[in-house]
Symmetry: none
Subunit: 194 residues, 4 copies
DNA sequence: TCCTAAGCGAGACGGTACGTCCAGTCTTCGT
DNA sequence: ACGAAGACTGGACGTACCGTCTCGCTTAGGA
């Protein structure tokens, strides 16, 4: 029942080669130094083949990055704080991995330029991360660890924001001490009154 | 006693015209679409005249933006929460003003590219904002409103981060309700036990 | 009696469609602006189908043009000059017909690029034209109108060259007055002394 | 009194380097294989510098060729036939010199494509050649060698056309025997009756 | 009053990357 | 086994900016 368009189908090899080349070049030279020309050359592919799939460097890179970011299974450590920490560590590890950290600032700029890129990023790992943390926070409420009137969306922002700000604005390394401090400070604000 | 270099002095008119043109173009087209070529043309100035003063678009824009961002006198509303709110509102108003909001993402990218730009931004309004909030938080500790062992630097990140993240990553408008919710949630985490 | 072979009868249709499309596009856009891509699209045919039959644009166009150029029966007007004029008018009409005139310069370039194209053109209407004029000149010699020692091949060049040069090099319209003047001038040079 | 346009003047070195590179590449690879990219690279010049002066490959090449074609001083051998032969030999030497012969067919195509190129060529060596031959023919008329009612423009076409046609259409080498035969045949047609 | 130095607007310079187009070849499916 | 459709590699196209470099000119201070 699948409608099949005529003509030669797009090559999955080329597709993969382009994504691989993108990731490799980003790691080697950083986001800004990467050019479509170089990606095509590295992938052993004509430029038109790249443009046929991705209309901009940003969209291509967004998808390439999506490949790196792993999906985190929802944990159950017994406490809301422990569960949240798992997600926090997954997120902050992005700020330390050269493959993704070098990318983040360029991605932010690309999102501001293009609503398509912004949409792709938000529906990708941003949405996955938020969905995971949302679940463990709700579980914390259900268990009575967190106040019943907790504003979950706000909590997500207050958890994610500090490291994001610290890394991009202050240019400071995000270590585990900081991560734990953020979590404990925020969860204290959400905790149910004893 | 001032050593006076020979030759024609730099034109202050040109200087101002360049900064004005930069701001105008950023407002009109966004940070990324602005080119040095266009700035020079708009300012009615040769390109060399621009490069003689600023070696990169980022540095120029940083200075141009510095002109817009105002200095906030340290307030005293009677409560730490009230004082913090004053600073928070000054910061979040930047996310709503087209002149600065359109700029932020590009600036983040520029900071990642250039340590000079990063330094200029951090020592500019970032430092001023943090210094102000630092003062009111310390006053809150002194008054006994906040716990004595509060990690002030962490608190600054947790206050500033959420709106920054929300604006750049989620692309959502930062309204006053959100600002107040962040402040009250964070300060609850820092409050001294009854 | 019709053989019932499956999925084949397109062949001659495609062949004709391609030639028709070639001629139409040449008339519309001139030789150089025509692309194999456009020919295939206009003919409603895949590019491979075109390449399967003609390995280059030049060969295809050569054949297409061969269709237009008609064969001239050897005339007998009673005088060598009259006979030659018939052939000359056939030739110069090509310089006026948009279908062939727009083609000529491109064909010349293609002939220089490719010996195959050159061969095809020379053995086609060039040879036919020369053969015809050769005959009437020889008849003129036999009749005593022209000198016995006439260099016929040279005469062919001197007859054909002027209009060819005038059209391609000077970009001037070839009218019948010019044609008659060339013929009369040349034949005067070949005429037998009283 | 010469008005001087502002800004840095165009570099004459670059100008010459581009023309030299064009000529060298044409000799090495032929007209069609030459690319603007290669010309710029060979000249050690940016592509924009080429396009700033010549908007198309054809115009550039036309000018480059103009440099090769030499100006012929009007001869006086004592007879119209001798004078004409001097010009004919200058012209036909172009068909033998690889630097110009490889170029001619492409130039013809370019002239058909672009009125600017056509104009440049016609006003260049075409006009110079015709002017020269025109003079010696008129002198022949004045001396009584040629008929008083000679159509000089027609004579120019009949002289120039045969070799042009023979070279481009028949792809045959133009030797001196042919040149002399054309001249003597044509001048016989123009000669005054004894 | 002239001289020297540096600034000025203008725009050309050598480069790099862009995104488009076409050439000629190579699959895929449908008939 | 052929046909159309269309993707493939490859490479030139002409444009836009980059940051630097002349030009002829202005604007100052010091000789």
């Amino acid at each position: 029942m699948t409608t099949r368009s005529p003509g030669r189908p797009r090559s999955e090899e080329a597709h993969a080669a382009i994504l691989d080349a993108s990731i490799a070049l980003i790691r080697e030279m950083g986001y800004d130094a990467v050019t479509m020309e170089a990606i095509a050359a590295r992938a052993g592919v004509g430029k038109a083949t790249v443009y046929r799939r991705w209309t901009s460097k940003e969209l291509l890179v967004t998808e390439a990055v999506g490949r790196i970011v792993s999906t985190i299974p929802v944990p159950d450590t017994g406490s809301a704080e422990g569960d949240v920490l798992v997600f926090m560590r997954a997120a902050t590890s992005m700020y330390r991995d050269p493959a993704t950290s070098a990318l983040l600032s360029g991605l932010v700029a690309a999102m501001a330029r293009s609503e398509r890129v912004a949409g792709a990023v938000r529906m990708g790992f941003v949405a996955r991360w938020r969905e995971g943390v949302r679940l463990v926070l709700r579980r914390g409420v259900a268990r009575g660890e967190l106040r019943a009137d907790v504003d979950v969306e706000l909590a997500l922002d207050v958890l994610a924001g500090p490291a994001f700000y610290r890394y991009l604005m202050l240019g400071v390394v995000i270590d585990d001490r900081f991560t734990r401090a953020v979590v404990s400070t925020v969860l204290r604000g959400l905790a149910s009154a004893r």
